[in-house]
């Protein structure tokens, strides 16, 4: 049985998928490579840098505009070649086919995607939030809080072990109080 974990977010790109889970001592990332899953951990104790930014994703927008535009272009060519009948009924299927791609590109351009990246000493975890902006902020704050807590605990642990190493004076037995 693996250690309990909760899903924080995911990052889906054209050729990479990554799911990020929160564990007791850090973040666990699972990225897919064909049919294999590669698991990595970013320990809270090792975190150096947490970033938050918004991006459009130029490839996503370009590809969707290109596919949507292609459907509209084909529709326009066919409508142009027809001389009789109602043109709207001929154009409508092409507009319907183009609409999802153009809507997706427009939504991405307007809303943008929020990216939270956690950099450790040896690995990093990336999460992308397309629609849940508040959740992205919450995750960013939550990770920073967990990292601060982990670093405080580690400092405390180090201080305790350092204090234990300091030689103590012998117990004052038999001495008059």
């Amino acid at each position: 049985m693996n250690a309990p974990r909760t899903k924080l977010g995911r990052s889906t790109q054209a050729f990479a998928r990554e799911a990020v889970y929160e564990m007791a001592d850090g973040l666990e990332t699972e990225s897919s490579e064909h049919y294999e899953v590669i698991r990595k951990r970013v320990l809270f104790e090792d975190v150096l840098f947490v970033t938050y930014h918004q991006e459009i994703g130029i490839w996503f927008v370009s590809l969707n505009v290109l596919i949507g535009g292609l459907f509209l272009f084909l529709g326009a060519v066919i409508v142009n070649s027809q001389r009789t009948g109602n043109m709207w009924w001929i154009a409508l299927p092409w507009v319907i086919m183009a609409a999802p791609f153009l809507i997706a590109a427009s939504l991405r351009a307007i809303l943008r995607v929020d990216v939270v990246t956690t950099y450790g000493r040896r690995s990093k975890a990336v999460m992308r939030f397309s629609f849940r902006k508040a959740r992205a902020r919450e995750v960013y704050g939550h990770i920073c809080a967990r990292v601060r807590q982990a670093h405080r605990n580690l400092e405390h642990e180090i201080a305790e072990s350092a204090a234990a190493e300091v030689p103590q004076p012998p117990a004052a037995e038999g001495l008059p109080s």
Partner: protein, 204 residues
Amino acid sequence: MATLAKKTGPYEGPECPRCGHLLGDDVRRTGTITCPYCQNPFEATAFNPPQRRLRVVEVVQSGPEGANACANHARNTAVTSCQRCGLFICSLCEMNLGTGSYCPSCFDRVRAEGTLSAATTRYRDYRSMARVSAVAGAFFALIFLGLPFGLLTIYYARKGIKQAQSEGASTVGVRISAVFGVLEALAGIATPALIILSVTGRLK
């Protein structure tokens, strides 16, 4: 002056989340940062994690009668023994995975064998394989290949269910794949049987 280095190959450290260039210590700070390379801003929180200090007790300190020496470092006192081979190991050699302590060589072996789930960093995703096999089988069933694909789906689904249960994840998706696998296998048996029966004239 900002330290810049072009990122190449695997992860090397904190980098600009927009352009992927490595960021030096002088650039990393809390607040809004403008990447010195791509000039794009991003919000960041920088941390300076304290270095964990490992306390290594030497045999000289603890006394020869009170301690065993580490098998790899004769001067160091052993703090535990390897769970797999029983070798005495010091705190430098100890690989504690939460479920037990291992010596470095045994850790490498259990990691390569994949027998220890906590040390596994790469494994096959049988749930995805079952899903893909079920979908492919639905198409290949049309050309009488339902039986091999169905059996393959059942095999992957069985492994996928075990995997999901060990991870505490939902098994609904993989169970649906298993049902598809059974249906494909049955279709793979029924279709040739029906053809044979109809050809021989037994099916009226």
